[in-house]
Subunit: 473 residues, 2 copies
């Protein structure tokens, strides 16, 4: 019962660092900025991945694989792109015992090498749309790293598509943004705010970047993924031309979109509490843990046999584990699985067995209830569903609490600087006004589709549309 | 009907290079030695991966993720290991715009970094066995590369385990070898020969390396994966100590085992024919392609509606695609899907529709048969099963044809040199005799469990056990 976590309300950042380590999601790697993702953490990512992969395939994309290494010259083909990524690149200069003629960049993102291949594959309008996805590791050299949230090597999927028309590319980028939002809402139980990045915050080389941002309990915004309308700039850089339906040469319209292992960090921050993780049931590696309660001399074998039966009964529907280790007390086990955020705990002792019932403990509410054993396989899935919805509702409520309306930066800026918090406000969309946010360590997180505010947060010009302002992770 | 492949009997290597490109498994990458795996090729790998991943999880292993980069100093901790891998390493010397203090190696395999972590996780016998697996990309700088068979970057899984006793580690390494053999036989329809590597051919730092080798139709051996009993050498190098059941400090016994995207190359070579790929049904991305046969003016819409129905009927059991593109003749489609190795082709025209039947073409036998539409969902899965077994039997027969018994190297050596072929023979297990194979470009592929030959293939000493000798891919 030791290992108390730092106070989640007053020391959120320390709480995060501590909980991801003690719950065995992650460990420090002996390489600066990298992380070792332990089985429990990797399993969460695998569940996210499986769900998103299904969405990607169902929307007509195909997985493929492109090289880890990209020739340095490729980056220089798209001017904004190289400028955006140059400071973050890791470079292989030696291989096979020799210095390389041309250094190889370890991919920070794969637009350049994928577009190089697209240029060879797209010859006619019949080759379009081309819709490719890759699950991969990428490397961006980070000055400050935090596991899952910002690491030198991270894991993601990157979708890359090419289309005949601008309109089709717009629809594609919007569709994938929507799939991400659905993933967050329906699977991770994280409410997100979707919108458009300002020109300063957009992806280097893109026409338009869409983003979905979670507002964490500490009032800072977490960019959880992006969907880019690249339009034709990269197509020109890589000389990607095809014969259109009129027999003329044309450039395709491109998109790219990605989300990362950062989602694991997002769900830890969004749902955890003072006792540890609370894992959203749909991605929890273990949804139910069964703990036998017995004393020496009691009918242990009968109990364990019954527990195996219960497990077998539940297994087709939910992910169950039994913790029957004998060197730990039930109390120590409760503590352990609470820390690990397992949604439901089933306790069963000889008296329960005699009554054909178990005790089910709910990780979110902390309540316990008796459930008849023959009802378990109906009740457990619906308890898990309920918990998903309760987690989403709680997260939405928390997000609303730290998201405010603000008229003038002069008023809300100092509050952000000192206490964090996300502010919806008006903006003239000029970078000069965006610059003023820096003094409060805030940035524009995304331009919203609403238009409640008539005036810019900084100048007296009319607002073009509302914008979300916050400190960013 | 153009694009004839090179003659598979006389120009096997050219045939391989051509078929993997024209069937769109792979494309040349703009980075030396790397490959772009196209969706059709990647999907085969995904099916292999899914099956193997299930086997790995069912045998009690957990997936995790370790960094791509390994400090150079880690490699130097295990002397044989660094010597074995040094010539193949790719090294990051610059990152974030600066020269690194210590260069980082791009992992060629992850023993060193994983053992560094194991040393922190294994404190007591209660922490054992520790059974971890990682799906990852690795990099080994190759002078000559061929897609799937030997590439600078390749994809694999690497299992890493630690055990209390030597015996447990032996059983683990043998179990995973057996899982690989089962994967090859039951999923890829590739017969393999399992055995033990000679000291010269074993993994740098291992006590014993087990291997499974396929004999390709050209009579060369392909090492398809390995399972290593690492024993305690790495545990000593990384100071991995735990308190055993008697309260004393002990070193665990380690294993590692892996197989790679090379399996895709293996199944292409094993099963293909002059018309192109023949994909083993259990990993074929498309198991059945449906081709409507209609002429202008005929009831196209009725036909297409019926085909959608047939697809829906088959889909719960098999992977089906419809090729209803209108700018290609049925003949061109037949040719295309034969090249791509789709196991079964369903043809259906208005007359078939009237008779409630379809024509099913078998890619392996080239035969066609009429099947009643309402029988399809029973018949198709069993046809696919039959094809799996027929492919395995055919591959076994071919392998037997190119695998011979040989008494003396003087006799069979020149035959290997000129015509390839695998030879089972006796060996005294001295490296001096192994050296003599080089003049014929052959190596020992594995030491067998049989003992038919009494004398060494080279000297007159008694044979310790039989050995398989061949040229290697």
């Amino acid at each position: 019962m030791s290992n108390k976590l730092p106070d989640i309300n007053t020391h959120f950042s320390d709480w995060y660092n501590e909980v991801i380590h003690t719950a065995e999601l992650v460990d420090n790697a002996p390489v600066r900025g990298c992380m070792v993702v332990r089985p429990y953490g990797w399993s969460i990512w695998e569940h996210i991945k499986d769900n998103l992969n299904d969405r990607i395939k169902k929307t007509g994309h195909h997985n493929a694989s492109f090289p880890l290494f990209i020739p340095e010259s490729f980056f220089k083909k798209e001017a904004e792109h190289v400028e955006g990524f140059a400071p973050e690149l890791a470079v292989v200069t030696h291989a096979g015992g020799k210095e390389l003629e041309e250094p190889l960049v370890v991919r920070p993102t794969s637009e350049t090498i994928i577009h190089f291949m697209f240029a060879q594959w797209i010859k006619s309008w019949r080759d379009l749309p081309l819709k490719i996805n890759q699950w991969a590791n990428v490397v961006r050299w980070e000055k400050r790293s935090r596991p899952f949230l910002r690491t030198t090597e991270f894991f993601w999927q990157e979708g890359h598509t090419a289309h005949e028309t601008h309109q089709e590319a717009v629809e594609e980028a919007e569709l994938m943004l929507q799939e991400y939002v659905n993933l967050c809402h329906n699977i991770l139980a994280i409410p997100v705010i979707a919108g458009i990045k300002s020109n300063r915050e957009k992806f280097p080389g893109a026409e338009k970047t869409m983003t979905f941002e979670g507002i964490m309990p500490d009032g800072k915004a977490l960019q959880m993924g992006t969907s880019h309308l690249l339009s034709q700039s990269f197509a020109h850089s890589f000389n990607m031309q095809f014969q259109d339906r009129n027999g003329e040469l044309a450039y395709p319209y491109l998109t790219s979109w990605g989300t990362t292992t950062r989602l694991v960090g997002a769900l830890v921050m969004t749902h955890g509490d003072q006792k540890g993780l609370i894992l959203p049931p749909r991605v929890a590696p273990i949804q139910v843990v069964i703990i036998p309660i017995f004393k020496a001399g009691q009918e242990k074998d009968t109990l364990l046999a019954k527990i195996q039966e219960i497990k077998a009964q539940l297994e087709p529907k939910v992910r169950v584990e039994i913790d029957d280790s004998e060197h730990k007390t039930p109390g120590a086990k409760f503590y352990h699985w609470e820390l690990k955020g397992v949604p439901l705990r089933v306790e069963i002792g000889p008296r329960d067995l005699a009554n054909n019932q178990v005790v089910v403990g709910n990780r979110l509410t902390g309540t316990k209830s008796f459930i008849a054993i023959d009802q378990l396989s109906q009740v457990v899935p619906s308890l898990l569903d309920d918990m998903h919805h309760a987690l989403f509702a709680r997260a939405q409520e928390r997000q609303d609490k730290v998201t405010h309306n603000g008229e003038k930066l002069l008023n809300f800026g100092p509050i952000i600087a000192e206490h964090n918090g996300a502010y919806k406000t008006g903006w003239c969309q000029r970078p000069e006004c965006e610059d003023e946010l820096r003094q409060y360590k805030a940035t524009t997180r995304c331009i919203l589709t609403t238009h409640h505010f008539t005036e810019c947060f900084n100048c007296t010009r009319p607002s073009v549309s509302d914008v979300l302002v916050a400190k960013a992770y």
